[in-house]
Every structure is written in C-alpha cells, then in structure tokens.
Amino acid sequence: MKDRGYYGQYGGAFLPEILTTTFDELEAIFNSIKNDPCFWKEYKSLMSSYSCRPTPLTFAENLTDHFNGAKIYIKREDLNHTGAHKANNVMGQGLLVKKMGKKRVIAETGAGQHGVATATMAAKFGFDCTIYMGEVDVLRQRPNVFWMEQLGAEVISVKDGTRILKDAINEAFRDWVENMDTTHYVLGTACGPHPFPEMVTFFQSIIGQEARNQILEIEGKLPARVYACVGGGSNAMGLFSGFLNDPVELVGVEAGGKGLNSGKHASRLSSKDASCGIAQGYKTYFLQDSDGQMKETHSISAGLDYVGVSPILSKMHDMKEARFESATDDDVVKALRFTMQKEGIIPALESAHAFAFAFKEAGNLSKDDIIIINQSGRGDKDIFTVADAFDDPKWKQFIIEKALEYKKNA
C-alpha cells in the first residue's frame, strides 16, 4: 500500500498479513478511478437511472414556521433506491467489483439498509452475496432481513460478542481472509482500514455536492449549518464533503441512547467516554475500557450503535472542524413523530437523530439563516421499533391476529 490513509493520528491499515495483497489491489483500483472523470460520469449515470439521483432538497415550510428561526431544508437520501444513502456507496463499490472481476460480495449490516443495498447491487450485477448481521439487529430490523433474503442474499445471524454491528464486521473480516480471491467486502461506512474511509466518503460525497448546488440554486446562498447523524460516519462525511471549504458549520449527531450519563449510548465524539484505540483494522476513538476492551453500546437505532467512528471525523473533532452532539432515544422518537405530523416525511430512526438536534437549535438562529438536515434514510424499516415506542394498540392487535393466523395454518 502506497498510502496508509492517516487523518491526523487516526486511520491507518492495521491488517492481518493475509489481507495485505488484497488491500494493495483495492487501493490500486480505487486510485485508478478516483481522479477519472469518466468513472464519475458512469457512476452518476448509474445513480440517476437505477436510484433516484439527484435526490431532492425539500423545504420544510411547516417545521420552519413552527420553530420560527432558520429556514429548514431536508436532503432526501431516503428517496434513493432501497431507502437510504447506503446505495451511493454500494453501487460505487459494485462498479469496482466488476472491474476487479470478483464474483462474490459480503457485507456487514446494522440497520439492514446497507445489507439490502448490497443485496440489490449483487442481484443487479450477478454476484453471490452474504450479509453478516448481529443477532440483536436481526430481531430489530426483521423487515430488512426478509428483503435481503428475497433478493437472493444469504443472511448470517452473528451470535458472538455483543451481537450488533461491530460483531458483524468481525465476522465479515473472518469470511474475507478466507475468500479474498473471489470476494470483495463491501464495507458500509467510512471506517475500517485504508482505503475504506476515503473510498466510502468519495462515493457518499455525491450528497454534499448536490446539496450545495441545490441550495445555491434555490436560495442563492450557503446554509449556516448542516446536520447529519453519525454511526460510522458515511452519510455525515457525504454531506460535509460538499461544504469543507465554506463558512458552514458542520454538525454531527451521535446516538445519546438513554443519556450520556447513563453509560448506555454510542457517543464517541460528543461524550467523554471514548478514547483513541486500534480495532477492526484502524485507529480512531472507540468506546472502550481502560484495558482496551470494547464496551457495549446502546441506541434505539441499529445503525448508530457502533463502538468506533470514521477516522476522518475523529480528526475533524480534534481540529474543531466539525461539532459533535448527541440526541437521546426519547428525543429521537419525539422528533420522528413531529416530522411525520408536520411534513408528512418519515425519517429513519438514525436520521431522526439529526432532526432532533437540529430542532433544538433552529429557533435560536435568525430567519436569514438556512440549515440543511440530512435525511439519511426512510423510516419504514423501523415499523416494529417505532410501533413499540409509540405503543400503538392497533398495531399490536394486528400482530397478534397475524401470528394466530400463521399458527392456525402451520
């Protein structure tokens, strides 16, 4: 590998020897396309015909009136094919897999959005596909498991460790070290060994590029702030990429879970609980104990409860190039309900973190200010979790009856 992918002291490629050649190859192919305008054209054309790019930038008039401060715009990544920004990264890596001539893809997934996106890409390009998903997330995101399997992917429920996203990543690596000749690991976020953080950011930067052009076209000026939720950091890096050289404040919102003082959260950059560590092939802030063992994380959303975070965001945190905040599970559910009622838009629980925090600040800004919230995905996948959070009696009755019906016919 020519470059080790460092961002300040974070990043790197802490690879087992067996993967060195595979990463050399991956870095080489990524370097060959990243400055090639023809590739970006091919990518954009694929994303505009197979997905829904450019995704709209929606003016949230009712929310704006309600908070009576900054003008609120929503970047609609939920309108991508498969309902989240994950498709941007997956289709980009899919094109690379074709170039490398590999025939099988594997991926980890938390919320299931990355898994579903990978399964569609595999179906379209004719690859075999295996998805690793923590057992806890399989239960939380059952509709996405159903779709992955219908799309032809094998879904493996990971029962080791904390049985969530990081454990799915470990299992995907264990598969990869055995099958790298035929297989590409489509990592789903801007984490992991170099070149993944840079490569995933590269594909996701289409979000920020579009958003910047759109806001300039509509409003003739830049936003004061942009908000994105932060799991591994791919949708945040995607949006932030468009505004790195602008006087725009970048705000990343992490999972506050049951509150930063409860210990039950996944806030690596906005709490004091994380420290610099090395795991899953890279160096970044991890939620770990004093021995370096990873801690359990918690969030209502399966896509944000990750122990690590993009090394690029860790550097931006230290350099104060972005601000990091958190939103609690309760605030997130309230923000989700409010957004649905006011705008008829259903954000994913992950995205609702960005909404929840933006709502706290919108009223303090002037009416001349603009903010953009990244709606990284749509909320349909969360129907079970949200129904529980809303404690909806009609939904419960429906599930009971459906279960009885299955039982009778079984």
């Binding site: 490629a13 595979t22 460790g161 790298m180 090395i278 770990q288 370096g292």
Partner: protein, 254 residues
C-alpha cells in the same frame, strides 16, 4: 536469545512444538495447570494470549475462549500476573499473543518494559504489520525482545524479506488463508510456500493454523522448525479436560 534457543533445541529434535493458550480460559487456575501439563509433556515454547474483545484473526474456538475469559473477568493485569508466575516456574520461553489495542492502550514502551521484567521473550500481534509498527518495533528493541511477524501464502518474496528484516526470534508462517482453527490441506502447495519462506529469511520458521496431530507434525519435519498447535489444545481441554493435554502433547512429541 530466542533464535539461539531454537537452534540449540533443533540439534536434539527434528521439529519443535509451540502451543497456545488463552489466559484465563477456562480459568486462570486451569490455565496454569494446562501450562504445567504441557511443559512436563515436553512443549518447547508457549504462546500466552491476552484476550481481546475483537479477535479478528481468530476462528470460532479461540474467539469463544477470548470471550469466555473476558466474561469471567480477565484483565491485562491478571494476565501479567499469570505470565509472570508461569515464566518464573517453567524453564521454557514464553511469548505473548494479542491484538494491537491491548498494547496500544497499555502503552507500547510500558508494555515492553513489563514483558522484560517478566522475562517474556517476544510478542505475536497479528494486526500490527511493520508499516504500522514503528513504535512497537522500537519498544521491543529497547528491551531486546522479539517482535514476531507473520508470513502468509499470499505474501510476495519481496515482502517476506521486508517482514524478515523487521522480525526477530522466528517467523510465524500461517499455513493457509482464513482464521485459526479450521482444516488445513498439507499438500504440495504448502511445500512450495514453505520453500519460499525458507529462502526469504534466516530466521527459524514456525508453522501454524490447522496443525493438530502427529501426522501434521511429521509432515512439517524438515520443512519447518516449529509446529504450532493452537485451537486443537483448546478443543481437547473443552472435550476431555485439562489433564488430557499431557497425553496429547506426549503423543505429539514421541
């Protein structure tokens, strides 16, 4: 010096035996009994693994042992106490095996100082390649300890030489792709690979991943210097108990 110990031993037997345990699995007491059985049965070197919550290079057997050990309350401090006792009591070289974060969090130099104080001869850390290991290599050098680096069948001749230049003690050759604890084909392909390894380095060669019985060891005679048995001894402990490790090792050493 580890290398001269290995070479001296090789005058007495065709191939040396290195075994592996996860400290604190099934318990620290059992771990000490296992070490005792193994040393008495004639093991030449031992790897003591400090458990980590994310053991990426390990397969199901060692992964479970890492998790169980941590669940039971293993800490780095307890592992150090254990290693110190073992190395004082038994007259064979001990090495640490762990992952980058354990050393990083402890502080590379402090970690190396501790190793020297306990007379642990070297370390195997699969997720520190030399490119990311400047601080690690310097720390090991300070106390004349051995950073053991790894060759794989995918490693080019040129890279083998680069790894060898950074390594001390011996080279750990993984026999195949994949993680620890799965079946390995001892085939012509492995021969060719081991010949490549031999040509690339003057250091002794240890071969691990999938080595599990006398047949495998016989196969490696003349091709490698040390056979490494990892997951298989954990399986034996799980299935037949701590005492069974003595007979198992005796059979291998016959």
């Amino acid at each position: 010096m580890l290398k001269s110990y290995i070479n001296k031993k090789l005058d007495q037997k065709d191939i040396l035996l290195m075994t592996h345990i996860v400290m604190g699995y099934p318990s620290f007491e059992d771990s000490m009994n296992i070490v005792e059985q193994m040393v008495e049965a004639g093991v030449d070197l031992m790897e003591l693994q400090i458990p980590f919550s994310e053991p990426m290079a390990d397969g199901p057997v060692i992964l479970k042992a890492n998790q169980k050990s941590l669940e039971k309350g293993s800490t780095v401090k307890k592992c150090f106490e254990f290693a110190n006792k073992a190395s004082k009591r038994f007259d064979i070289p001990f090495l640490f095996m762990s992952y980058a974060n354990i050393l990083h969090k402890f502080g590379m130099e402090k970690f190396s100082d501790q190793m020297a104080a306990m007379d642990i001869k070297g370390a195997i850390v699969p997720d520190i390649p030399p490119e990311e290991g400047k601080e690690y290599i310097r720390a090991m050098e300070k106390n004349k300890l051995c950073p053991i680096f790894i060759f794989s069948p995918e490693t080019s001749d040129e890279r083998m030489r680069y790894l060898s230049d950074n390594a001390k003690g011996f080279i750990y050759c993984v026999a195949r792709k994949g993680v620890t604890g799965k079946e390995t084909q001892f085939s012509h392909e492995l021969d060719t690979y081991l010949k490549r390894c031999r040509k690339a380095t003057d250091l002794p060669l240890a071969v691990g991943f999938g080595v599990k019985d006398k047949k495998d060891m016989n196969y490696l005679k003349g091709k490698a210097d040390i056979a490494v048995i990892g997951s298989e001894t954990i399986r034996i402990v799980d299935e037949k108990g701590v005492k069974a490790t003595y007979d198992f090792i005796c059979n291998l050493n016959k």
